[in-house]
């Protein structure tokens, strides 16, 4: 057994130095952390400012777009044609040609992504223009692949009376389950 000698107490001076060093270290850490928090808060504020600015820009752009549309296509003469697809398993859309009063006003080729977007419920503004009040004829020619991957071309006609207000027309491609054929409908929005 080891004889128990007198234990040497650590030097008080060292204790003081270590304690002071620890205290200083803590103070520095706290100061650094406070700085970091402040810097992070500043970054957050700048980020918020940038986001707010971006939102303002988007709003401004939208207002300008609306203004431009109102000026170029006044409500009294405006005609807009939209296209939507409902289910569409019997028809793979490739392109749409739109004629108003015998004149081609739009001819649109659809990419796979655009067709997919339409299948997901997207509605495309196919044409926006001006027409005088009175009777007009709209002919839409759809091309694509029909049942059994066959080339398919189908036209649909709408005779409509343009009044003083804006006119909205929707071209809708739907499935006719009974006949296993696609159906091309034209609907006027009031």
């Amino acid at each position: 057994m080891k004889p128990n000698g007198p234990r040497r107490l650590p030097n008080r001076g060292w204790q003081l130095i270590v304690a002071s060093a620890l205290l200083i270290g803590c103070a520095v850490l706290l100061a650094v952390r406070a700085d970091a928090t402040e810097a992070a808060a500043e970054v957050r504020t700048v980020d918020q400012d940038v986001q707010a600015l971006k939102k303002e820009l988007v709003d401004l752009n939208r207002d300008l777009f609306r203004l431009e549309e109102e000026l170029l296509y006044p409500a009294s003469t405006q005609v807009a044609v939209f296209l939507s697809v409902n289910v569409g398993t019997f028809f793979a859309l490739d392109s749409v040609q739109l004629n108003v009063d015998g004149k081609e006003v739009a001819n649109y080729l659809y990419t796979e992504r655009e067709v997919e977007a339409l299948h997901r419920g997207g509605v495309q503004k196919l044409y926006l223009g001006n027409l005088k009040a009175g009777e007009h004829e709209l002919v839409a020619v759809f091309t694509g692949k029909g049942p059994h991957e066959r080339d398919y071309r189908r036209g649909t006609t709408l005779k409509f009376d343009k009044a003083v207000g804006a006119k909205y027309v929707e071209l809708r491609i739907t499935d006719r389950d009974a006949a296993l054929q696609p159906e091309f409908a034209v609907r006027q929005w009031e």
């Binding site: 490739d94 392109s95 649109y108 080729l109 659809y110 990419t111 796979e112 992504r113 655009e114």
Partner: protein, 178 residues
Amino acid sequence: MDSRDRAARARLTALAHTFALAVAALAGALFFPFIAHAAPATGAQAPDFALKDLAGRNQRLSEFRGDVVVLTFWASYCGPCRVALQSARDAAAAVGGTPVALGVSLDRDATRAASVAASLGLESPSLLDTDQAVGRRYDVQHLPMTVLIDREGVVRRTWARDPVPTDVLLQSIRELQP
């Protein structure tokens, strides 16, 4: 009397010439917007278009937004166009496939474009501009014409008449990479 007649005739001729000139100037002013097709300037947004590729798929330029696009206008009858297509293909491959090399064939006969694309082994989409509407929008006057479009859809450089050397194209693409 004769001199009077001659003077009157001369006046009439001058009047007719002035009238013809005025009509021509008016017609030019009226139809200029329909016949003028300025090429998209550097820094301008590249005009969007949709065309069928050789595989029958529809391709729209704006759908490649986010990638650098090398757009090469070519035709089967143009020899240097093959060099330009190869240059675009090699530059795109060297960068790692991130830039998209799109060829726009101005051939009216799609089979000719298909045979050239097959002979060059082009894997990137070859678009068919059979009615040359896109060629007119980009004001293609000399073949080949290569247009470098950045990730935002802005025209950065255009080369016409001579094929762009691969290293020059590569350098220009790298400048647009993030």
